[in-house]
Symmetry: C3
Subunit: 267 residues, 3 copies
């Protein structure tokens, strides 16, 4: 076994009302009864690979070395898209080769990708519509039992990638980004990271989004004696610039959703 108590996380768009998630867990525990399974979320919007990729990026670093992450947002299940195992940042990632691991590739300097080919590690018969249960879950369980990554199939290097997550510096020195996630509280997470601001004066920055200009930047949510409904920027817990407002939804106030462009102006 990889570790004394192997850890497998699950991230899917299966929801929690059907039997899908339970089927994955049953298959995993049938192969390795000692594994610890943690749900990251099953509420990724149906078929939304980008949302899955972001949530995996934001959560994986909290987990220990050797954690095995199974990520199944898989609109192309049953078609030619390849099932893969990724080794990156001393962790493992298993799922379809459809871009869901893009931001992990972007965040980690080194990684290896193996195509899952060896059918002895699959559950049979392999359903054409449920590779989560029949390929990804059993491969994760066998990996937790000590099977080596290269045993599952050959290394590949022509993986599918989403467009880059990182915000883009413009010629005039501003940053062009976008909202990459709206969380449960209505906070808007942008793809602007602090390292892009090196040598710039944050206190003179202005954030423009959907016709609104935000000039206030704070350290935390309740940074006022009397909370007002004023939008502000803050460096969020996932490492990105967020747009927030006290006890209300910034997304609703701004009238925006994921994908909305954001410009950070630095005079």
């Amino acid at each position: 076994m990889l570790t004394e108590r192997p850890l497998i996380t699950l991230l899917t768009d299966f929801g929690t009302t059907d039997y899908f998630v339970a089927a994955l867990k049953g298959v995993i525990l049938s192969i390795n009864a000692h594994v610890h399974i943690v749900d990251i979320t099953h509420e990724i919007p149906s078929h939304d690979i980008e949302a899955g990729a972001f949530t995996l990026l934001a959560s994986h670093r909290a987990f220990p070395r050797n954690t095995i992450h199974v990520a199944v947002v898989d609109p192309g299940v049953g078609s030619a898209r390849r099932p893969v195992l990724v080794v990156a940042g001393q962790q493992f990632f298993i799922g379809p080769d459809n871009g869901i691991f893009s931001y992990i590739f972007e965040a980690e300097s080194e990684y290896q990708i193996f195509e899952l080919k060896k059918e002895q590690y699959f559950r049979h018969p392999v359903s054409a519509t449920f590779h989560g249960r029949d390929i990804f879950a059993p491969v994760a369980a066998f990996l937790s039992n000590g099977v080596r990554p290269a045993d599952f199939g050959k290394e590949i290097n022509d993986e599918v990638r989403l467009s880059p997550l990182k915000a883009r510096p413009l010629k005039n020195g501003n940053l062009e980004g976008r909202i990459i996630h709206v969380d449960r509280f209505g906070n808007c997470i942008t793809n602007i990271t602090r390292d892009l601001l090196i040598k710039r004066d944050e206190s003179r920055a202005r954030l423009r989004v959907n016709g609104t200009t935000i000039r206030s930047f704070r350290e935390f949510f309740s940074d006022e004696a009397r909370p007002t409904r004023k939008l502000f920027g803050l460096w969020g817990s996932a490492g990105f610039l967020e747009i927030a407002v006290n006890s209300h939804s910034a997304a609703e106030m701004l009238g925006v959703r994921r994908g909305e462009p954001v410009i950070l102006e630095i005079k």
Copy 2:
């Protein structure tokens, strides 16, 4: 103990916003701290025994031998309906005798049912409204600790049953079925299984549902170069004929919900 690391699953209509599910887990772990608890789902529609029975059927086979399934969809809690323990397919099922185990009885050739009578295995005082916490959870935990099924009460054989799940062959050779589940993606799972088609030519079948005729049968969801909004049938991961459409809700397109009749015509 039954196994080195006993496994208890939970399937309820409790939702996840209240303290109900946590109370079950606390009771189980108070009796056997080594048990592994897996949620199947807590989002069965309130009091919908048929939905609970289907989800239990669809998920139980992914779990290993000796798994203990606790299923609590229990509109009659506190009344005369009996609490039972079922032994079937080398697994255990604990819950009310109200039909929730019907499809397990239908799927497994042999089974035994014990009425839960021995109050020393209950949590006291037994609330009249929460047998999940006070009867089913502790019985599951004691079973995982090695108490034998017959120790909980006498065997019975007049169990409550729902109407049969299986589709019905008509005199003209067609199959009359119904939609038994609509999943999160809007796929409509029917009660038609492939064994009913033995010796028939699947390629000449037609599926009629709510005024729509479906002639296309596929192997998986994305079986087209360019996905269209065309309904098709496919043999789903739970072993039943499903009606689906690429990246959209088949249930919405058909205007149907669970219970809708389906006719499979085979010329």
Copy 3:
């Protein structure tokens, strides 16, 4: 370690669509891989401290001795509110000092509160907006590893409290209470407990709520041959007087929500 297999529960308003809950679990398992984590709920309404306090009260007693409960409903995260560890009823409670543990203080005769000050038990850098991940989760994990409560910081006794949960006896002998929770089934849980009725004749009681008078008190939900849509009172599984109706939502029928006043008249 506290016990052979330490148990940590999580109660938050984080929802299950974001990466927040997974981050807590990853941090805990990075520090103690042997801990068993149980979700109480993550669906507390955003920033609703009172709802969190009630759910914690209703669920904690089902858990065994030495259970560590992490409760994060924390609108003031990052501000001056103190992070605390509470020892009460042979269990542990970790979260913000904002009233979320009020009903535990009310229910347990003795308790101790320690302010979390020792930064060596925090995750660094401590985000200003996510103390769940950076303070509460690691402190819970270190506690499960055997660090003693007093090692995390000094004892305090000026804790923040919500208004008392208990119903109030009026001069005329009646009880004035309120609805403290509406559960998934629409049952209305009041803050009236049976001990307040000592020496009173329950059979002559009347419950008044939002213009409706309820005269029927029952032992369980389905206490009728033919269920009717008649409201009734019953002593619920959490120990409080509940208002219910068979197979429908009492809250909807009464047109009430949490906070609605309730008068119990006893002639």
